[in-house]
Structures are given as C-alpha cells and as structure tokens.
C-alpha cells in the first residue's frame, strides 16, 4: 500500500534592512557580541518599539510579488514564551491581520521537455523579530547570550500543505529563495541564517484526511531539507506500518547522522497566548504606499519567463535563465547585442559553456570574465556565419582569458574568420577525396558514417574555418 506525503513549509527570510525592526541598532552580520543591541533589544524597562518603515515596505513588496492581498490595517501581537535569548519574555510577531494574506508560488518541476509547473498556495506572510543567539559551549557550565540578532526583521512565509514530495519541497524553497533575492528583500545567505526553512511533514493514505504532522525546524540548506524530509517520511511510514501512531512534535535534523529526532512533543505544548501588543498601534498601509512599492519592483521571474518563451525558449530553458536575477540580467545583456532571434543560442551558451566554466572556477555569474556584451558579440558572429560553432568555443576561451576586448577583435587578430570562398573550399574537398579513396568507396557502398570521416578531414585541413554545412553539401554533390 502506498503512502502519500504531505508537506507544508514555513520559511523565515531575514529582511534586507540596515537597522532592526523596532530599534535603531544595526543588523550587520558578524559584529562583536552584543555590540549591536539597543535598550529596546535588551528589553530595558520603559522602552518602546518603533517600527522600521523599510521592513514594512519589504513585506509589501513580497505580497505584491506573490499576488497576495495586502492587509492595509496590519496588527502586531505578542507571542509569549520564555527563553534567555528572548529578553522581553515575548516575541513581537503578527497573529491576526498579517501584512500579507494569501498569494501563490509557481514551481518548475522536472527537466527538459518533461518539465512541468505546479502552483503552491501561500497561507500568509507575517513580520516578526528574530531572537538572540544562545551559545552553549565554553562558559564553565553556563550559557552565553548574544543579542545582536534579537530584533532582526523577519518575514515568515507560510505555505499551504500543497507539496507531495521532498523534491517539490526543495523546488518550492528554491523558488522562494530566488524570489526574495530577486525583489531585493533578503540576501538569501543560508550559511548566515538569512533564509531558514521549517518543514511540516505528514503521511496519509491517498484520499484520507491529513495525518499527524511533525515539524522539522531550522533547515538551512536545500540538501538538508531534502535529506531531512526523506528520512522523516520513511520514519513515519515505518511507525504507522508497525501500528504506532505519530505524535505531533517538533524535530531537529542532525546532518551528521542524517536523522531527525524529537525536540519537544506538543503535549507539554507551548501555549503562546497571543494578544495584540499594546505598545504598537495598527500599521496603516495606504494605497499610495502600495503603489509606490509596486512602482519600484523589478520585472518578476514569471513575467520574464513568459517573455522569454515568446522569444522561442522552452519552458525549461526559460526557467534556467531566470534562476536568478543575475543570470536573467546576463541573458538580457547578451541578447541586446546578439539580437532576440538568438535567444535559444544565448540560453545554450549561458547554461552550457559559461556555467560549466563558472562552476569549474567557482565563480558567480556576476564575476564572469566574459561580459554579457562580449558573449552577445560572439553569438552574433556565429549567427552570421563569420565563424563556426567550434571556432566560437575557441573565441569564448580567448575572451575568458582576456586575449581581446571583443569577439570581433579576436577573430581578426587570430585569423579565425570562416572561409566563405567556395572555390577555396572546393579545392580542399577535392584534395581530401583524392587522398582517401577508401572512405569514398565505403560511402558509395552505402556507409553514411564514412562521410563524417571525410568532413572531419576537410575541417582539419581548413583549420576549422570552413562552414561544416557547406562542406557537407559540397562533398555530397561531388560524391553523388
């Protein structure tokens, strides 16, 4: 009997502001412990939180990007619990009336021609403050508390339980990660904890109500997300098949063992006793504010994908060149020079030679030695048959090594221009036919492959500068 996996995600994206959500302390990563704490972050008596306008703008921008409703009268609430890295004894969060209500994220699933899309519904996204950090080692049996992170603005993005496999959960997390970076509300740095995922996982027999879920907390890489869910699903199935019920619980993933283990069961569960924070008034979000944010928004990945598909890219290619804003900008830069008719070629170069080379040298696309304009110029020369594809790779290499400012300059300096003089090619074809009677005979006897050997010889004699199609045509004509 097969089981159906049900996954919902809660993602914390750290908002890309300068200062904290309710105080004027910095949120820069890596400062001296507690050097970025204000009296508000320390919960000193008599202080009051004052909301950061930019943090709200970030939340609005996200809401617009996912097609959500923006609550124009949004409310902050206290979530009450006790932990040393939360000095107030409560976290300021949102319960009723979060800024972002609903919305959708579209996933790209699968590869190549079998690629499909799936729409995931979002429940909500609300603003909240992060807690500080507890350090459990090295303090002779005490815990050290660093409150630099306390009060860092977060957007918690909650999805509906719409995902049906770890692969879908990872695709969702990646799509969200791409989107928050794309619209500039989060740097997406997972090592530094700027983007963290919690996965709510349950299993059920298809058609039955949802099973009891366990929540895997704080996954900070896509690989761990996949591993943790796969382990958790198998664990739950084993439990159920051996007749044991699942207890609702919060679990942690241990990357060393690849296992999940329960942190606390929901029996002694937290009752957070949410209530509207009397220190904060409702946030009024005017139509003007929303429109201003809309005006500042870059073209979104989905709109760009549609536009690129109209230029002849497949769904898969269009998704690949919009995997990040940097890649999309590079693609557009190359097209500007090469022309829209070369969209497919440009995508091939970027996803092929360029990304392979970037991977090998561990570079991001914004640090590529070959600029989008240079690649566009190269593609244009292949398109107008000044050079062949094979010579193109040589030129790309030369550009990468900085041997010239443009493809044209390198083609000129290294004499790589394709031979278009039919007479010159004919002479080479005749030469090769005369020198390879064996291959000629085989071809005439019906062995198609023998032709390739001859083409290869001719291309070699032409130092790659002949047009392979032209060579092919000429050769066939001569041998027929």
């Amino acid at each position: 009997m097969t089981w159906e996996v049900v996954i919902g995600m809660e993602t914390h994206a750290q908002l890309a502001t300068n200062s904290k959500i309710f105080s004027g302390a910095s949120i820069a990563f890596g400062a001296e412990p507690n050097a970025q704490t204000s009296l508000v972050d320390l919960a000193m008596p008599g202080v009051l939180p004052v909301l950061n306008r930019e943090a709200v703008s970030c939340a609005i921008r996200f809401g617009l990007a996912v097609g959500a409703r923006i609550d124009q009268r949004s409310i902050f609430a206290r979530k009450n619990y006790f932990y040393p890295d939360l000095p107030k004894g409560y976290q300021i969060s949102q319960f009723e009336n979060p800024v972002v209500d609903g919305g959708t994220i579209t996933l790209q699933l699968g590869q190549g021609d079998s690629a499909t899309t799936k729409v995931i519904q979002l429940t909500r996204a609300h603003m909240e403050e992060d807690a500080g950090k507890s350090l459990h080692e090295d303090f002779h049996g005490r815990t050290g508390v660093d409150l630099n992170r306390a009060g860092t603005p977060l957007l918690e993005i909650v999805s509906e339980p719409d995902m049906r496999s770890s692969a879908e959960a990872v695709a969702y997390a990646r799509a969200l990660h791409n989107l928050v970076r794309w619209i500039g509300i989060c740097d997406g740095n997972m090592q530094e904890g700027s983007f963290r995922c919690d996965a709510n996982v349950s299993v059920r027999k298809p058609g039955e109500p949802f099973g009891t879920r366990r929540e895997i907390k704080n996954l900070n890489s896509f690989r761990f997300l996949q591993q943790a869910i796969d382990y958790e699903v198998q664990w739950q199935i084993n439990e159920l098949e051996e007749g044991r019920a699942i207890q609702q619980a919060t679990v942690l993933f241990d990357p060393d063992t690849g296992e999940t283990r329960a942190m606390r069961t929901k029996e002694d569960a937290m009752d957070y006793r949410y209530f509207p924070d009397p220190d904060l008034l409702p946030v009024i979000i005017s139509d003007d504010w929303i429109e201003r944010v809309r005006g500042e928004m870059p073209e979104l990945p989905e709109a760009m994908r549609t536009r690129f598909e109209a230029l002849g890219l497949s769904t898969y290619d269009a998704a690949a060149v919009t995997a990040s804003l940097e890649i999309a900008r590079y693609f557009e830069g190359a097209l500007k020079v090469a022309g829209n008719a070369q969209a497919k070629q440009a995508a091939n170069w970027i996803m092929g030679d360029l990304s392979a080379r970037l991977n090998r040298e561990d570079l991001g696309i914004d640090a590529a030695p070959v600029s989008p304009e240079q690649l566009g110029g190269l593609i244009a020369r292949i398109a107008d048959q000044t050079i062949s594809n094979a010579i193109g790779k040589k030129v790309f290499d030369a550009l990468w090594q900085g041997q010239g400012k443009s493809a044209d300059e390198i083609i000129e300096a290294q004499g790589l221009k394709q031979i278009t003089d039919t007479g010159a090619i004919e002479a080479l074809v005749d030469e090769v036919i005369a020198a390879n009677p064996g291959n000629v005979a085989e071809f005439k006897a019906g062995k198609e492959k023998a032709l390739n050997a001859l083409v290869g010889q001719i291309m070699k004699a032409a130092k790659g500068k002949a047009n392979p199609q032209q060579v092919n045509d000429l050769l066939k004509k001569k041998l027929s």
């Binding site: 502001t17 300068n18 200062s19 105080s23 004027g24 302390a25 910095s26 001296e32 412990p33 507690n34 050097a35 970025q36 704490t37 204000s38 009296l39 508000v40 972050d41 320390l42 004052v50 909301l51 950061n52 306008r53 930019e54 943090a55 709200v56 409310i75 009450n80 006790f82 932990y83 040393p84 009723e96 009336n97 507890s134 350090l135 459990h136 303090f139 049996g141 005490r142 815990t143 050290g144 508390v145 660093d146 409150l147 942190m263 009752d271 006793r273 509207p276 009397p278 904060l280 008034l281 409702p282 946030v283 009024i284």
Partner: protein, 97 residues
C-alpha cells in the same frame, strides 16, 4: 466562565510564576472578578462594529531605516548591570534543549 484551581496553576506555570495554595485561591478570586467584568462588557451590542486592536484609534508611527543605536561602549555599560558576563556575552544558567 468559572475558573478552577487547575486553570490558575496552568496559567501560573505558563507565566513562570510560583503560587502557593493560598495564592491560588486568591488569584482564582481575582480572575473570577475580572472575567465577571468582561462578561458585563460582552452584553454591549457590538454588531456591525469593527473590532479594534488598540484603545487609540490612530496608526503606528514609523521610523526611517537608519542605524542610530548600539555600540561597544553601550554594551559594556549594560553588561556591567548583568549578574554574570564574559567575552561580551550575558551568562545565564545552562539551557539544554
């Protein structure tokens, strides 16, 4: 609604407050009084009136996103107020998850 001593104990536990048996009974009385008053308020007809999240019917004031606070000097002054500190950290009894 009437409270039981168990309700009071549970609330005390959530608030990390220790209550002896006498205090439980006293608190029970206080809570019953408070909820009696709430019950009275609930008799007011509020149909068609949007609930408020705050007694003041005005919007939240916002700050510009500028760094204006936090420094090593301020940290050291605050750390000096703490019972225990080390290496720029506040030290607390060991917390085990």
């Amino acid at each position: 609604m009437a409270f039981t001593p168990e309700d009071v104990q549970r609330l005390a536990k959530l608030a990390r407050i220790e209550l002896g048996p006498e205090q439980v009974n006293a608190t029970l009385g206080h809570l019953d009084n408070i909820f009696g008053m709430i019950a009275e308020l609930r008799q007011v007809d509020t149909n068609g009136i949007a609930p408020m999240a705050h007694a003041c019917d005005v919007g939240q004031r916002l700050r510009e996103d500028k760094v204006t606070d936090g420094s090593i000097e301020q940290r050291d002054r605050c750390l000096a107020l703490a019972p225990e500190s080390e290496a720029g950290l506040y030290l607390v009894p060991k917390v085990i998850e």
